[in-house]
C-alpha cells in the first residue's frame, strides 16, 4: 500500500507524538521531530524515535520544508495546538498536510486554509511522556477526522491513509459540533466526575487508604491523567460538558428517587445492561486521555 507519505514531522513528543513517530518509522517513513522540551527532543534523537530534529518553531515555519515533509502531526494539549498552528502560518495552504490530536476542536477556527484537517486518534494511557511511547498504542483503535475548513481532497485522503495504513486505525468523519458533544458525554464528563469524586473523598478526611472497596480504582486512574490537558479540555468544551452534566444530574435524581421510594431498581439497571451490550466494542479500546 503506497500512502504517498514519505516524511512526516511530529510536533510534541509526549506519549501520543512519540507513539505516532515510532509507528511511522516502523512503516519506513522518515520522521522529523520537535518538542519545546529540550530533554524530550534529545531523548527522541538518542533513542532513534525520530530521524531528524528541528530546534524551534521558527525553523519549522519555513516554506522550504513543504518540499519534503508530507504531513505535520501536532500532538500537544488543546490550547498549545492552537498556538502552534498560529505559529506555522507560512505552511498554511501549502502541499504539506497539517493535522492535530486534540480531544476538543471548537477552538480551532481558521478561514481559507485548505491544508488543515483535524484528527482525534482515540487511545491513550494513564502514563504520559516520551518514555511511554508505544508503536502499538493506536493499532486497531479509531480516529475521528473533522474537516471544518473544507480542506482539499488531496489532504483529507492523505490523512485518512495515514491513520488507516500507517497507524492501522479505523477512521470516521464527524462535524466539530458533533465531536465535541459526543466526547463531552463519553470522555470529558466521566473525567470531571472522577476528579470530583476523588476530591470529595479527600475532603471527607476519612483515611480510606487501607479500606477501599471496589469501584474506586477506575476513578483514581482517570483522575490521574495529565492535569494541564484536562484544564484545557474542560475550559474549551465547558458548554457541552455542562449540558452533559445536567443530564447526568437528572439521572442521579431519578436513581435517588428509586432508591428511597421503590424496589424497582433492577429494571432501571437493565437499561445500563442494554447499553453495555451496545458498547461491547468499546472494551477493546485502550482507555483514555486523548
Amino acid at each position: 500500500m503506497n500512502t504517498n507519505i514519505k516524511e512526516i514531522l511530529v510536533i510534541g513528543l509526549g506519549l501520543i507524538g512519540s507513539s505516532i513517530a515510532k509507528a511511522s518509522k516502523e512503516k519506513g517513513i522518515k520522521v522529523h521531530g520537535f518538542d519545546i522540551d529540550d530533554k524530550s527532543l534529545q531523548y527522541a534523537s538518542d533513542n532513534k524515535i525520530i530521524d531528524n530534529s528541528f530546534n524551534s518553531l521558527v525553523t519549522i515555519n519555513n516554506k522550504e520544508i513543504t518540499s519534503y515533509v508530507d504531513l505535520i502531526v501536532i500532538a500537544v494539549s488543546p490550547e498549545a495546538t492552537k498556538d502552534i498552528i498560529n505559529n506555522i502560518q507560512q505552511l498554511w495552504n501549502t502541499q504539506t498536510t497539517i493535522t492535530d490530536t486534540s480531544s476538543v476542536k471548537n477552538h480551532l477556527l481558521y478561514k481559507d486554509v485548505t491544508n488543515i484537517v483535524l484528527s482525534h486518534p482515540i487511545a491513550g494511557s494513564d502514563k504520559s511522556g516520551i518514555s511511554s511511547g508505544d508503536e502499538n498504542l493506536f493499532t486497531g483503535k479509531k480516529t475521528v477526522i473533522c474537516n471544518p475548513f473544507n480542506a482539499d481532497k488531496k489532504h483529507t485522503q492523505r490523512l485518512e491513509d495515514f491513520w488507516k495504513f500507517v497507524l492501522q486505525m479505523r477512521v470516521s468523519e464527524m462535524s466539530v459540533k458533533d465531536h465535541d458533544l459526543m466526547f463531552a458525554m463519553t470522555s470529558h464528563l466521566p473525567h470531571l466526575i472522577s476528579y470530583a469524586l476523588i476530591d470529595s473523598i479527600r475532603l471527607s478526611s476519612k483515611d480510606v487508604k487501607d479500606n477501599v472497596g471496589g469501584g474506586l480504582k477506575e476513578f483514581i486512574r482517570l483522575s490521574g491523567s495529565n492535569p494541564e490537558m484536562w484544564r484545557d479540555i474542560f475550559e474549551l468544551n465547558d458548554k457541552n460538558i455542562i449540558k452533559s452534566l445536567a443530564s447526568f444530574q437528572l439521572s442521579i435524581n431519578n436513581l435517588l428517587e428509586l432508591i428511597t421510594k421503590t424496589k424497582e431498581l433492577p429494571e432501571v439497571f437493565s437499561h445500563s445492561d442494554l447499553l453495555k451490550k451496545e458498547l461491547e466494542d468499546i472494551k477493546s479500546y485502550k482507555e483514555d486521555s486523548f
Copy 2:
C-alpha cells in the same frame, strides 16, 4: 498452620461462595454447600467444588450439623443474607461460627447471639455465577470483620484465622457504622454514579456506540454488575450514600466554578494526584462488586 477448621458450609454458590469453597478445598477443608438454585448446587457437586450438598435451609437449621461444621459462610445478596440468618436460628449460640459476605451491614441486627461475626471480603469481578468461581479470587486481598454482637473470642479468632490462613487475606476490624460509611464513599457511590452516567447517555439518544472516547469504559464495566445485589446495597445504605453524594455534588460545583471562571484547575487536580499516591495499593485489588 492448624486453624481448627475442618469442615465448612457455604450457603450461596455464586462467584463469591464458589471461590471460597474452592480455596477451602484446596487447603484440605471438607466443604458442604447449599444454593437455592438447584442447577448451581448440581454444578457444584458435579465439579467437586463441594464435597457434600444440603438440599434445603430446613435441613441446615438443625443443631446436629453443629457437631461437625465449624464455620458457615453465607455468600448471597445483602437482603437474602438477613433472611438466611433468620432461617437458621437453631444454629445461633452454638459452637459453629456463622459469617456472611455482604457489602452492607447495618440491616444485620441481632441480640444476644454469640456466634455471628460479620465479614466483607473485598474482591470480586464483573463476572458472576458459580462458573466464574476462582480459588485465587481473594488471595492477597482484604477482609473487613465487624463484630457488632460481641461474639465470643473463639468465634472471632476462628473467623480471622479462616480469612488469613485459608483464604490468605489481610484482615482488619471496623464498626458497622464505619464500614457502611466507608464503603458508601469508596464503592457504593462510584457504582451509583456509573449507573447514572450510563443512563444519561442512553437517554440522550446519541448513538455513541462507535464514537466513544476514553473514560467511559470503567463506568460501563461498573454499571454491568449484578443488579439485584446493587438494589439491596443502595436501599440498605441509602443514608450514607446520600451523604457521600452531597459531598460529591459540592466537589462538582467547585470544579464547575473553576472551569467557568479561572485557570486554576491544575492545582485542584493535583489534590487528586496526592490521593492517587496515597491509594497506590488499591490498584492491586481486583475490582469490585463485593
